[in-house]
Subunit: 131 residues, 2 copies
């Protein structure tokens, strides 16, 4: 599949940082990005290449510079893959579910610090199957 490149690209913290910067303001050049990064320019270039091949950024030439733009479409696809309309409200609200889990779940030692994590956001275990 092609989604593999997207996830592999997102797996690196440096690349996520690059995306953050482009999210804040895009149209930056390689040198501009590299100057903030405590890394060789070549390393940054490699990361940008990975991001581009994943479709997460888009490059445009301008004279002897190359500008970089964020492309959020693949991110949206990730979202749509595991969050459907039905569960979206629940996920963004996510209150009361933690309580629900805790009352039905007695002994599970590794799972108790569930602030945002550790809650079955889709469904209570009683419901199985259909959707």
């Amino acid at each position: 599949m092609d989604d593999d490149r997207v996830f592999k690209a997102l797996a690196d913290p440096t690349r996520r940082l690059l995306l953050d910067w482009l999210f804040e303001r895009d149209g930056r050049t390689l040198s501009e990005l590299a100057s903030e990064l405590e890394m060789t320019r070549f390393g940054v270039m490699k990361h940008l290449r990975v991001l581009e091949e994943a479709g997460l950024i888009v490059k445009r030439r301008s004279g002897r510079e190359k500008l970089h733009f964020l492309n959020a479409v693949p991110i949206r696809l990730i979202h749509d893959r595991w969050i459907d309309k039905y569960t979206e409200r629940r996920v963004s609200a996510l209150t009361g579910l933690k309580r629900h889990l805790e009352e039905t779940n007695a002994d599970e030692p590794d799972q108790h610090e569930a602030g945002l994590r550790g809650v079955p956001l889709r469904q209570a275990p009683s419901r199985s199957g259909m959707r």
Copy 2:
């Protein structure tokens, strides 16, 4: 940051497949998941552990079985990180723009025709900062 575990967990295709299955119907046991996977049960267990530590799944004990549930919150957070309310419409509308851009890639530094042509899915470069 803790998001690193989430992205690393998502970087593996087997783990994404596990999430897909749990998305389709969760509350499955380790053995059930492993039986469909052409991999050792131990390998699957390791993947499930990674997913759990990333907060992407939640386990619940039921007798001598352990049931697995999908947790979509981290996915939602990924979405919110690079897609804001303002650009959401634009992003969900456009697909395959990258290719289109590469075709029209000639030297065109002007940035204001973002509509269908130019690309930057978020914003024309002139806008900086705020969100």
